[in-house]
Subunit: 347 residues, 4 copies
Amino acid sequence: MRAARLHQYDPEFRGPDYLSLDEVPEPTIREADDVIVRIDGAGLCRTDLHIIEGIWRGKVSVELPYTLGHENAGFVEEIGPGVRGFRPGDPVIVHPLITDGVCPACRRGNDMHCENSRFPGLNCDGGFAEYLLTKERNLVRLPDGLQPRAVAPHADAGLTAYHAAKRAARVLEPGAWAVLIGFGGLGHIAFQVLRNLSPARIIVVDRSELALSLARELGAEHVVQAGPETVAEVRRLTGGKGAEAVLDFVGEGGAIEQGLAMTRRAGTYFVIGYGGTVQVPAIDLIAEEKSIVGNLVGTYADLLELMTLAGEGKVRLAVAYYPLEQINQAIRDLHEGKVKGRAVLVP
Amino acid sequence: MRAARLHQYDPEFRGPDYLSLDEVPEPTIREADDVIVRIDGAGLCRTDLHIIEGIWRGKVSVELPYTLGHENAGFVEEIGPGVRGFRPGDPVIVHPLITDGVCPACRRGNDMHCENSRFPGLNCDGGFAEYLLTKERNLVRLPDGLQPRAVAPHADAGLTAYHAAKRAARVLEPGAWAVLIGFGGLGHIAFQVLRNLSPARIIVVDRSELALSLARELGAEHVVQAGPETVAEVRRLTGGKGAEAVLDFVGEGGAIEQGLAMTRRAGTYFVIGYGGTVQVPAIDLIAEEKSIVGNLVGTYADLLELMTLAGEGKVRLAVAYYPLEQINQAIRDLHEGKVKGRAVLVP
Amino acid sequence: MRAARLHQYDPEFRGPDYLSLDEVPEPTIREADDVIVRIDGAGLCRTDLHIIEGIWRGKVSVELPYTLGHENAGFVEEIGPGVRGFRPGDPVIVHPLITDGVCPACRRGNDMHCENSRFPGLNCDGGFAEYLLTKERNLVRLPDGLQPRAVAPHADAGLTAYHAAKRAARVLEPGAWAVLIGFGGLGHIAFQVLRNLSPARIIVVDRSELALSLARELGAEHVVQAGPETVAEVRRLTGGKGAEAVLDFVGEGGAIEQGLAMTRRAGTYFVIGYGGTVQVPAIDLIAEEKSIVGNLVGTYADLLELMTLAGEGKVRLAVAYYPLEQINQAIRDLHEGKVKGRAVLVP
Amino acid sequence: MRAARLHQYDPEFRGPDYLSLDEVPEPTIREADDVIVRIDGAGLCRTDLHIIEGIWRGKVSVELPYTLGHENAGFVEEIGPGVRGFRPGDPVIVHPLITDGVCPACRRGNDMHCENSRFPGLNCDGGFAEYLLTKERNLVRLPDGLQPRAVAPHADAGLTAYHAAKRAARVLEPGAWAVLIGFGGLGHIAFQVLRNLSPARIIVVDRSELALSLARELGAEHVVQAGPETVAEVRRLTGGKGAEAVLDFVGEGGAIEQGLAMTRRAGTYFVIGYGGTVQVPAIDLIAEEKSIVGNLVGTYADLLELMTLAGEGKVRLAVAYYPLEQINQAIRDLHEGKVKGRAVLVP
């Protein structure tokens, strides 16, 4: 089968090509709970660019070449002898983390903290290919009416946004304010999730006028262009108090400082984007009793819930399709900010 | 009446005297819910030293001279016409924050986030005196067998420790680990509270051998002397994973970095002590999904619960009494680390 | 002033008149936190009919004659010397329960469990009059654009519905089902609250075709006419499993049995309406681990939140106005099921 | 191997023998995650008596003869090819419910609500035998120092008690009261769990003086002999208000009525024992806002936590050993109330 593989890191992202389309053997069922998924679409994520640059090199152990792609959806092609919940042909989205199901974290439903996990597309072969090897535990059957390729980015981008928004919803009573910093791939999903899970008043902050106009189209009532006046503007909108929840999908370039500054007394700053450093005197956290909450990708149950919302038409995703052959074009477009919505590779 | 008042700030803490014992008019009932408490004992707190140094000068608005003392307990002396729950002679401990009872925070039970509050001993006259003016809302009647002066430090030190420990208890299942950094006035109360509110395994960290031996006396099974090996030692005790909850009562001098480093994946670092700065790359909070939670003094209900535990003999306090006349000696002793337990001024 | 007072119980509800319009002295400020509200509108509630019938006779202690009316809204007329948060002319809705603010329940925010409470209109003079005596603690300032008389029924009917719906929302993840039994005054508010506070799929059950068509108008996707097939129909809609939350606003005539039968494994049956008896073998509760949760009127904070939603146009109320002089006509209309929406008396 | 099997139901429990000791083939590994456990001890439960009487006949589908025994502990004997977490020789206790690990309930950690489960000893072969076939997902490794046979009853009796006590602990602040009705096999574990997980004041109610003296030995401060004055006595101890949590391990013969009557305003009645019927007017649940919560066996994580407490010496169990050959004697003894503690069969 054809697979887009990384043969060498490109620290300066020179290109022009980043992955090569190789002919590789199809994966085969080896364990009872193995499943092979025929990829219908695989989302391209900024993390893929970071992998190519070698940023993850020291953090994960993987040998080149290997296949990238961790936002995968498609149809069940073949199942191991122990699989009972799925049959060939079932349309599915694939939770990105392969978990053991037996460690305490898994047993409590917090499977994204599994003690024995793998992350295909990051530390083993992923979904920029015709077929993907995964496990029954990773599959969520798609509700009627959802095409796998149209929801593929939910496998990671959507799931992370959902996870953070759901946690934030728990602290948002009617009348409370939530700020979303960054209205890109994750932010625009978090916005829709928050509107379904909470009655909060939402303020969208983004540097880009295009992003803000998308926010308005999706129904945002309060949008603020990021700049030196952002905190003051959020304070003004919130009666001088700041927001009960701030969700920061940027996490660098001043967003963290601003995010903390616009969090109100007893409020929570959720950090999802990264790159920068949280730096705050302990006295400031204490005097106003603020919390800072790190957010990872969501659990399997989170993905189940997100797919339910997607199936009900409550969370929509903007995608741009590329044939798998054009993977390098897609990477260049993403790098240059030319992709409208989320890029999805179609084998 | 006699009151120990601050006439001028002493930024370098030269002394020899810090407060002067003045003869001042007794407070009088002015509003329906006013209460005058005859002070039986008033705890001396490190915050009092900071006030004398002028550290709080820019943060609160108060005119000199005024009476310090925010850990107050005694007997009801006189009540306003609207007070129905207390009568002269009732033994009481005084919640340190005067709150309005009608703002949304108060109405939800989070009165320490009251929008219209005063803090006697910090921004108006406190309890280093014979009498204190407070409100019915601030009083907790003492259970039988508790002498006001013996529990006075619970009004602030104990209340803050209780508040943090109670929040930590919510994330501590059987088998989970909690680390207490700093086993002084607050830490030794938090330890006792945690043992009553959770089944966690507790590790006590302190620089002082004296503090650690007190911890052992109180039943601590795991004590670690603070030093360069602290994090490694905590990791060793916790099977390499770190603790689900870290309560940092120091908050400076390396404690914050160590505290975060010994917090396990999906764990929470509670910061109570202050002085230092929290500084952590966003990626680190995200990759392990850690939370950082600032902690303030507790609510009225927290004080009620702490007094219940104290009345049941489940939380004990070590106190050293000083006559009010020896306030400056007490301050010097505290400054020089010579007080065993918590200093309490007795008028 | 004019007030509609009950002079004698009418166990068989013969009428023709139930309350008499008397000329009584206006209330006066007696305590520091007293407030006199000029009534703009007072909702008529089925409980008023039960009071007239004498059903509450044994449960509350009150001497005839007295003024009914516990769903009150209007404008602040006069304030006691201790009132700081409101001024004459402020538009307000009145929480129905006068609470002491100092008992443990009040201090924890559960003021509807206050240990020293009064309920004007039930055990002392209520709001079917020109003026009502209440307390600062009972007032919620209305958001801009809300007329007191248009929201008066929220003071009790809306508040109870909100309280139950908010509790139910906590157990409703995306994909979960909620059933509302009874789509009258409370049910139609609960429906709107639930849609704002949770992503649940909602099934509306009512006997009346009129009620079901109102449900459809408000956007209900699943409506079921109450009858012998109700449980089967709910099971069918929910894939055979029943609903995670059932909110029963009827509480008699078979609704309880049906409500429990349509509650799924590990689900919760919220009982709000009354008249009937919960009767279920312990083994059935255990084998499916169901919960049964009684629901009272909401807290002050609940009313604050509901008014926020109302001010944002997210919860609408259908009301029919009657001049206070026509109180007996309003009572007859309510008794005969002729009121469209909720009757509100306007002095 | 030898196994104690049920050949025919005995509705009147005539005996003299109930199970017969048959020679049956040893179980064999069939699926990748299968595990065979060599039974070290298997608890005898009152449910076994009910099975013999045929009470469960209509509720579960099983063909006679089959082997009873659902409280199993022992040593891993053999593992399937997919088992990675255990090795032959490991000492284990066996969660009683075999679950699929992939349904939504399992994925959220609520595995006792698994949609595809089996319960060995109830609807397939159990542990009154030399070997038991189970799954990797069912095993909890025993902490050092625990002998399997000494903890076997925790697999069901202990787990159910733990589950209910843990849920109750969440509503028990310092100063709150919990009542345990029934201080037998489950009750005496719940007592120890509650003391470790909450600061509640505990009242033990039992008909038997022997049970009450055991309660006193275990440190119970408040014991009440069940009788017509029980409710009055509980109300007296609780200042007239009743208990925040009532855990009813009896569930018949008046316990339910008494349990509900001693539950305070806003309190929760947990029903664990069964046989009787919950019968209460809706108005009573509403007026005091009480909850009734059914309780089943605990989750896998619950068992993990209970074993942690047991390993730390915080929960002790009284057991009486019988050789497997004396199974019928053990059954007779249990039926006649002659077993001290919990009977455990040793093959």
